[in-house]
Symmetry: C2
Subunit: 390 residues, 2 copies
Amino acid sequence: MPVKDKSKQKIGIIGGGQLGKMMILAAKAMGFYVTILDPTPDCPAASIADQHLKADFSDQAAIKKLAAKSDLITYEFEHIEVEVLKELEAAGYKIYPTARSLEIIQNKYHQKTVLKQAQIPVPDFIKIASLADLKTAAIKFGYPLMLKSCRGGYDGKGNYLIKAASELETAFAELGAGGKQLLAEKYIPFQKEISVIAARGQGGEMVVYPIAENEHQNNILLTTRVPAALPDQLKYSAEQLAREVLEIFAGVGIFCIEMFVTDSAQLLINEIAPRPHNSGHYSIEGCYTSQFEQHIRAIAGLPLGNPELIRPTVMCNILGSGQQGAAEVIGLQEALKLANVKVHIYQKKISRPGRKMGHLTATASNLSEAAHQASQAEKVIMIRGKEDSQ
Amino acid sequence: MPVKDKSKQKIGIIGGGQLGKMMILAAKAMGFYVTILDPTPDCPAASIADQHLKADFSDQAAIKKLAAKSDLITYEFEHIEVEVLKELEAAGYKIYPTARSLEIIQNKYHQKTVLKQAQIPVPDFIKIASLADLKTAAIKFGYPLMLKSCRGGYDGKGNYLIKAASELETAFAELGAGGKQLLAEKYIPFQKEISVIAARGQGGEMVVYPIAENEHQNNILLTTRVPAALPDQLKYSAEQLAREVLEIFAGVGIFCIEMFVTDSAQLLINEIAPRPHNSGHYSIEGCYTSQFEQHIRAIAGLPLGNPELIRPTVMCNILGSGQQGAAEVIGLQEALKLANVKVHIYQKKISRPGRKMGHLTATASNLSEAAHQASQAEKVIMIRGKEDSQ
């Protein structure tokens, strides 16, 4: 019987948004002590964390303070300066996923280069350092052409879909301002966007979640349906690709691997997130082990849990609607009247149009029933800014 | 579309133990603000509550302060002075279950009298005000004879099983000291102890959970198995009894109705708890809606959720073992290696022999497999006091 009490490991999370909050809800059920670092006093995770260091994410001293208070560090977003993480690792602190994994993944050019070298299928891409490079890319890849910032993008921010040569200059000026690193990517017409949530433990053991099918609007995730409507062979290939990716990055914790299913039924990796992901929220009600519990188990060195689907599940994001203002939830009662609909509210104080304010999940004995319930719920619930609050 | 935002209701909980903690985990996912009242600075619910009033449960001013900070009040245990709750209700505060429900239930003599008057089957009982009364009861009911404090008992505390006339005096002196109200109850030989978790909403709507079968040791719950091994007719009767009980008390929130299945296959109500109950913990993993989420939905005036069982589930309590001292968890890793075993650790700082320190749940496609996994997990996990901590 080992004497080390793993439940006594203190967990530090960089970021206190909804992902941090849902990590803590899982960690607290298992009895962990959690400190978050987030500049916002009333961020979603604030009230349920044991401690809250209110500091900017770029505040290296604060990150060191978080490490001093914690036995292991994780994060809910990938735009963190890795230098301080590397320094902490060198000093013996445990950070999962590791600084090395994060360093490659957070730069899309490096991420794609490493994947390509490992013969993982990715859309063709070129580094863009000048307008001339972009023009060369346009000749090579044609239009539409995807221009991306190598760092810092999310929910489509930092991406520019160039439709014609007349837009090249504007796109380059917009994304490349201040000498930002860019890459151009061949635009992939796809039939589906899927994501594979997978976890890898400290000993290299892995579990892969059922393949999820995503629907985006304006680059923001709207809906995830599980299981994805795909031939078994493609599901198997997607799962294998996810396993290879986790091996390549020696990932520890939950990773999300977003893929395109092209019109010719090929899989191409779109992007990788080294953390629990919006498209894995379905796992809270849908799977025997949620992505958040799994992440905590993986980083704490505990055995991984069963990722299997309990039954078909559909997740819809609840985005802020109307105007900006103090968040107000409308129609919660009507949504919860629907059978097996669960509503998660992130407790963000301010609602802004398009901001992720919550999500809802419907489970049912078949996917079309789950989709029906989710879509009914989505129609009746709304989070918006109060009119008189600005 | 109603404009009232029910998620903005602030919830106050009297008590910050494991039941309070699990209520908050459910409430936080739905976005509620929660204040607890508990004298212990590092009680299980403390770190995840928005606010913590550190005060004794008998501190009426503190309970009023809690009410002033909350839109609705609930509680995790029934030994609260109802006078202050009544006063608050009269002043317009919402308390669920109501002070009236609580007042009857918290006094076992009143509870049983009300049930008996409503023709709900309960074991025969007599009020005991003197040793002479107890002797009369012994003649009427025979031995063994159950003597109970009318108030304040839990986990067998406040109960005395009198095996012979020679124990009458000792039992009366022990439980009746200081003029405490007592009752004597005919001892019921039973084949099973079951409990029915049920919820009633503010509009009188009800849901009943699958019948759970309990095993106690030294009056403390050890194991709950669901579904109970009972003929359908008895399950149906137990469910109907639970519905009647909730109507009688006009309960709002989760109630637990413990019943005996007698040797002659009759149902007798043993005790009622006006709150989520240890024997309902199985619902976290076992049911589509946990008893804690259900309680929050009921008291917040939201529609009740689906109480159905996902699949067979066995829950085992993890009681403090060894000596008293700073709590240490042994074997978490081994327990989590078992398929579909989840471990809940309450984060009580001090472990004492027999103290409820956590619980574990196993789910499987059949009950015997779930029982096997739970019993394997129970063998490898232990929470004990550290030897050098006292």
